[in-house]
């Protein structure tokens, strides 16, 4: 992507570039992960949003408002680009989560290997609970 990725009506992102190279860990989750839409219909749950959505929103807010590690406009602009490309076939809010993880890894805020091993820990903790 180059400067031509600028919104038709917008002028916000200037020369900002989104790194659209795939990330193996997130590709695995994209392919294998079961989205809320399917889980909710399988288990007969009526809540339209997954329980983790509110945590994700708070994470996005805190990343922007506290130490400003990932400012809102940058994250939203990258989420838009990733939602139209790499994660186009993932429903919302799963794709917001993938886009957030993508932006954080590409910025070096978290490391892909580190995230993978933390996911394993979290998973083990959840199944043992």
């Amino acid at each position: 992507m180059n400067a031509s990725s600028k919104n038709d009506t917008g002028a916000d992102s200037g020369e900002h570039e989104t790194n659209l190279a795939t990330i193996p860990l997130l590709e695995t989750i994209r392919r294998r992960g079961r989205v809320w839409r399917d889980l909710a219909s399988q288990y007969g749950v009526t809540n339209p949003d997954p329980p983790w959505k509110v945590n994700l929103e708070a994470t996005c807010d805190a990343l922007s408002a506290e130490a400003c590690a990932l400012p809102l406009l940058e994250r939203r602009s990258e989420e838009d680009e990733l939602s139209a490309s790499l994660y186009a076939n993932v429903p919302f809010p799963e794709r917001q989560l993938l886009a957030l993880a993508h932006s954080m890894i590409k910025r070096g805020l978290v490391d892909e290997k580190e995230l993978a091993s933390r996911m394993k820990q979290v998973h083990d903790r959840l199944i043992s609970a």
């Binding site: 990725s5 009506t9 749950v45 929103e57 990343l63």
Partner: protein, 241 residues
């Protein structure tokens, strides 16, 4: 996390069903959050404050503001001149409710209530990203965030509104409000016929989120937003600058 939900012998209602499966997305969300906290990008306490705040958000206060304005002309006048002050009466303090106590770039503290008339219909968008009057209207819907809606509404408002099922005659002025600076907007629609003598509570029930964004108008009996499937653009915009 019970798998089976059969009625017990005392005739108690079964608990609401739950998803008894750990998804990769649930795990990813937790892992991202824990690492962010460990690296000092925000604290666990920050996250708790934001979660509590996000939990409180929804479209109900904005619906109550509209209902109140319909029944009380003095309140309506206040609402259209000072939306922040009018919000206090429906329990929303734009300045102090936020965990920051001054707003954030996505929730600046300036609310404007756009009053429709039979000849003027407002509809709200943020072409820049997806600015939204969150303290009084909750999280924005998925379609509001899409580049499709944001790019097209300013340019083809009638076509976009028609996709939401709202077709207006040419003598009604459509005014698109693009909230790309520090003001956030909600729409005060025209009170529909057939609601004479209704209480504020009854009126608030028909002021849906979509009415407050301006892509729908309130109708007696309609208490929910219409389903809005998201389709990719038929003729996507080609960028040349």
């Amino acid at each position: 996390m019970a798998k089976k939900h059969t009625e017990d012998e005392h005739g108690h209602r079964p608990p609401a069903p739950m998803v008894d499966e750990i998804s990769d997305f649930e795990v990813l969300e937790m892992a991202v959050r824990e690492l962010a906290i460990e690296k000092g990008l925000f604290s666990a306490d920050d996250h708790r404050r934001w979660t509590e705040y996000v939990h409180t958000l929804g479209p109900l206060p904005a619906a109550r503001l509209v209902a109140k304005a319909w029944v009380n002309p003095a309140y309506k006048k206040m609402a259209v001149t000072d939306g922040v002050k009018a919000s206090l009466e429906v329990g929303v303090d734009w300045i102090n409710d936020m965990p920051t106590h001054f707003g954030t770039p996505s929730d600046y503290c300036n609310l404007r209530v756009l009053e429709d008339t039979p000849k003027l219909k407002h509809v709200v968008v943020c072409t820049l990203c997806s600015c939204y009057p969150r303290p009084i209207l909750g999280q924005s819907p998925e379609w509001y965030r899409t580049p499709n809606y944001r790019r097209r509404l300013v340019r083809w408002p009638r076509q976009v509104l028609a996709e939401f099922g709202l077709q207006l005659p040419p003598d009604v002025e459509i005014r698109v409000a693009d909230s790309n600076q520090k003001t956030r907007y909600i729409v005060l629609p025209v009170r529909p016929a057939g609601t004479e003598g209704w209480t504020e509570e009854q009126l608030a029930e028909i002021v849906t989120r979509d009415c407050l964004i301006g892509v729908a108008v309130p109708k007696p009996g309609v208490k929910a937003n219409a389903k809005r499937p998201v389709h990719p653009a038929v003729h996507p915009v080609h960028h040349d600058h």
